[in-house]
């Protein structure tokens, strides 16, 4: 089972600032998913990255998968209060098992 480390654990910023959060592992991911979880709700899938070096954009969110597929980052441009939440990276595991292994998350708070 992969051990996923996320950093920072907590981030509090002002509206309009940019930020980057990270997800690292000592092992190679076959693919990686990013989720956002709001208080009182379950995680919601943001993106899946599969290919080393891949970059995906979702409005103001940019996701990057490391060339060696052992790390990933999420960059948010001009953060808004609606971005507040817990950002989780997750390893979907191998085909046939496909149960998510989550990192501990980065809790983001965007102050208006």
């Amino acid at each position: 089972t992969q051990l996923l480390e996320q950093s920072p654990q907590f981030l509090s910023i002002q509206e309009g600032e940019n930020l980057t959060v990270y997800c690292n592992s000592s092992s190679v991911f076959s693919s990686l998913q990013w989720y956002r979880q709001e208080p009182g709700e379950g995680p919601v899938l943001l993106v899946t990255v599969v290919t080393g070096g891949e970059v995906k954009k979702l409005k103001r969110l940019t996701f990057q998968f490391g060339d060696a597929r052992k790390d990933s980052s999420l960059h948010i441009t001009a953060a808004q209060p609606g971005d507040t939440g817990l950002y989780l990276c997750a390893d979907p595991g191998d085909t046939g098992r496909r149960a998510l292994t989550f990192g501990s998350g980065t809790r983001l708070q965007v102050q208006p």
Binding site: L4, T48, L88, T95, R97, A99, L100, F102, G103, S104
Partner: protein, 114 residues
């Protein structure tokens, strides 16, 4: 489509009592998961079902936790007896075919053991 339904939303019990959580997955989703999320941590898999069979329960504390998915549709997770460290959010998720087409999570049940 309707999402993953969970009940109750909140539960407070005393230690050593029993509690049960219910999950109704998205219609047609063969795979169902129960996760435990302790405050400040990411969700941790407790058990995975494929239809009504268990795929992985290696992280389920079987001395006190049990789960079933009769008829391969809805599922129940039970804790008996509860301990203080069981205080957490219990999330249910389902997927169409082992996660290959994505996962959908319910809103969870927040359990407080006092």
């Amino acid at each position: 489509e309707a999402g993953v339904a969970q009940s109750p939303r909140y539960k407070i019990i005393e230690k050593r009592q029993s509690v049960a959580f219910w999950c109704n997955p998205i219609s047609g989703h063969a795979t169902l998961y129960w996760y435990q999320q302790i405050l400040g941590q990411g969700p941790k898999l407790l058990i995975q079902f494929q239809n009504n069979g268990v795929v992985d329960d290696s992280q389920l504390p079987k001395d006190r936790f049990s789960a079933e998915r009769l008829k391969g549709v809805d599922s129940t997770l039970k804790i008996q007896p509860a301990k203080l460290e069981d205080s957490a959010v219990y999330l249910c998720a389902s997927s169409l075919a082992g996660g290959d087409y994505g996962y959908t999570f319910g809103s969870g049940t927040r359990l407080t053991v006092v």
